[in-house]
Assembly symmetry: C2
Homo-oligomer: 280 residues x 2
C-alpha cells in the first residue's frame, strides 16, 4: 500500500522505518512543513518522496498524522476534507479534544484515533529508530465511531510494529495518560529546573550526579513543542494529578521538617508497592 | 590486609566482592546485627567469617561501616572507642551530623568520612554485585581532620573500586546530595504514591505504563530503612530543595490551568538545558 506520513520526526520516522521493513507499505510519502526535516527524512531515506499535503493524501491508501497535538487538532479536519477512501490515523498523546473536533465530520468513520505509547526523549527525523515501538502498548480510542475495516487496518499496522493493542474510550485514555505519562514529564522538567537554578550559585552541583538523578530527569530532555500542547489539551486531568502530586510532596516535606520519621518511613514503604508494576 | 565490613547489604557486599577480587583485602570479616543477612553474606561467600563487633574491629586493619546513617551515628563512636591503629570509614549519604558527632573523639583522625555515590534500588546481601562502584564518584569529606595515611588508604580503596575521588567539606556535600540525589528519590516516592492512590479507583491505570514512567519511578523501589534517616539528617537542605521543587510544579500547574502556553513552553525549554549534564 501507499502510506503517507505527515510529520517526519521521531514518531513518524520510526514508524516509516519499520512499516517498510516489515512489508506494510510499498511506498511511503512524506509531508513536513519544516523543509529541513523534510529534506533530512528524504535523505535518510525513510520516505520515498516529499510532496504537498493534498497530493500526498490523494495518492495514499493510509495517512498517519505524526505531529504535535495542537497541530493535529487544526490539520485533521483538513485531511478528512481531502480524503476519498483513505484511512486516516494519528499518534497524539491526548485524545478527547481531537475527537470532539471531528465528531461530526462526514468522513469521521475513516479516521481511527491512535496513541502508540512509545518514544524516546529525542526528536526530529535524526532520532527515528527501528524497533522503537516493539513490545509497547498502543491505544485505539472510541473505535465504535470508526469504520470496522479502518480499525482493522490500523490494528494490523500496530501489530506489525509489535505493539499490544488496547481499546479505550477517549475520556479514560486522557485520565490514564495524565497519571502514567504526562505527570512523569512535568516531574522531570521541574526537577531539572530546580537543580539548574541551584547551579547558578553552586557551579559544581552536577559533579556528584549519578545514575539515580540521571534516570529521574531523563524525560526533561523532551521537546517543548510536543509537550506544551499535550498539557494544554489535557489540562483538567493534568492539573488534578499535579494537585495530588504536590500534596504528596508537601506531606514528605512536613513530616521531614517535623522529624516524623515513622510517617516518612510509612510513605516510602507504601510507595515501594510500585515494584509490583515496574517492568524490571 | 584484614578488612572488616559492618553491614552486609548492597553497599557492604558489593564493596567486599570487588575489594577481594582486586586484591585490596586478603581476609574479610563481616558484622551484621541481622542474623539472616549475616548468614546470607557468609553463604554467598563475600565474607570469610562472621563475628561480633568487638572481635571484628580488633582483628581488622580497616573497618568500613556500611549501614544506614541513623545506625552509623550511633555506632561510629563505639567503633572508634574500640580501635587501636585501625582505619575507619563509612559510606553514608549524609555527612554533617555524623562528623559533628565524632568531632572531639580522641580517635577522630583515624576516621575518614566517605560517600560512594553508587547503588541500585535493591537492597540486602542478595543485591550485592561486582562492578557497582565502577566509574562513579566518591566523596571524601573534611579530610583535613583525618590522618594523612588514613586518607591515602581510603583513597586507594576507592581507586581500586574504579571510583573518581572528590574532596568536599561536609556542609557542601550535604547541600549537593540534597539536590542531586535526595530530591530525586522523594520525587519518585511521591509519584509512585500518586499513581498507586489513583489505582484504588482505576484498576487498570498501569496498563499504559511505558518506559518514561518506569525510569521516573524506578527509585521508588528504594529502601525506607535507608532513606528515612537520610532525609531526617539532611532535613534543612532537603526541605529547602523540596520548597523550590514544589514551587516549580505549582508554576507548571498554574500556567497550564490558565492556558499560558508560552510560559509552559519557556519552562520546558529552560529545563531542556539539563541535556548538557546528563550522561547519555
Amino acid at each position: 500500500m501507499v502510506l503517507t506520513i505527515i510529520g517526519l520526526g521521531l514518531m513518524g520516522g520510526s514508524a516509516a522505518i519499520d512499516l517498510r521493513k516489515r512489508g506494510f507499505a510499498d511506498k511511503i510519502i512524506g509531508v513536513d512543513k519544516d523543509q529541513i526535516n523534510a529534506n533530512a527524512a528524504h535523505h535518510i531515506g525513510f520516505v520515498d518522496e516529499i510532496t504537498d499535503l493534498e497530493s500526498a493524501v490523494k495518492q495514499a491508501d493510509m495517512v498517519i498524522l505524526a505531529i504535535p497535538v495542537d497541530a493535529t487538532v487544526n490539520l485533521l479536519p483538513k485531511v478528512l476534507d481531502l480524503v476519498d477512501k483513505q484511512i486516516v490515523t494519528d499518534m497524539c498523546s491526548t485524545k478527547s479534544t481531537l475527537l470532539e473536533r471531528v465528531k461530526y465530520h462526514s468522513k469521521r468513520k475513516q479516521y481511527v484515533a491512535g496513541h502508540p505509547m512509545a518514544g524516546t526523549e529525542f526528536s526530529g527525523p535524526w532520532a527515528a529508530v527501528s524497533g522503537m515501538f516493539d513490545s509497547k502498548a498502543t491505544i485505539l480510542c472510541d473505535t465504535e465511531d470508526s469504520d470496522i475495516r479502518a480499525v482493522a487496518a490500523v490494528k494490523r499496522m500496530y501489530e506489525l510494529l509489535n505493539m499490544r493493542v488496547i481499546y479505550m474510550n477517549s475520556i479514560n485514555h486522557d485520565v490514564h495518560a495524565a497519571y502514567i505519562s504526562h505527570i512523569s514529564h512535568i516531574s522531570s522538567f521541574a526537577l531539572a529546573l530546580t537543580v539548574l537554578e541551584k547551579e547558578k550559585n553552586e557551579k559544581h552541583i552536577f559533579d556528584l550526579a549519578s545514575g539515580g538523578f540521571d534516570s529521574t530527569v531523563r524525560l526533561a530532555k523532551s521537546s517543548a513543542d510536543m509537550w506544551t500542547p499535550i498539557f494544554n489539551q489535557n489540562k483538567e486531568n493534568v492539573t488534578t494529578v499535579l494537585d495530588t502530586y504536590i500534596n504528596k510532596l508537601q506531606q514528605f516535606r512536613d513530616y521531614i521538617e517535623n522529624d516524623e520519621n515513622e510517617k516518612v518511613h510509612k510513605l516510602i514503604t507504601e510507595s515501594n508497592k510500585i515494584k509490583r508494576v515496574l517492568f524490571k
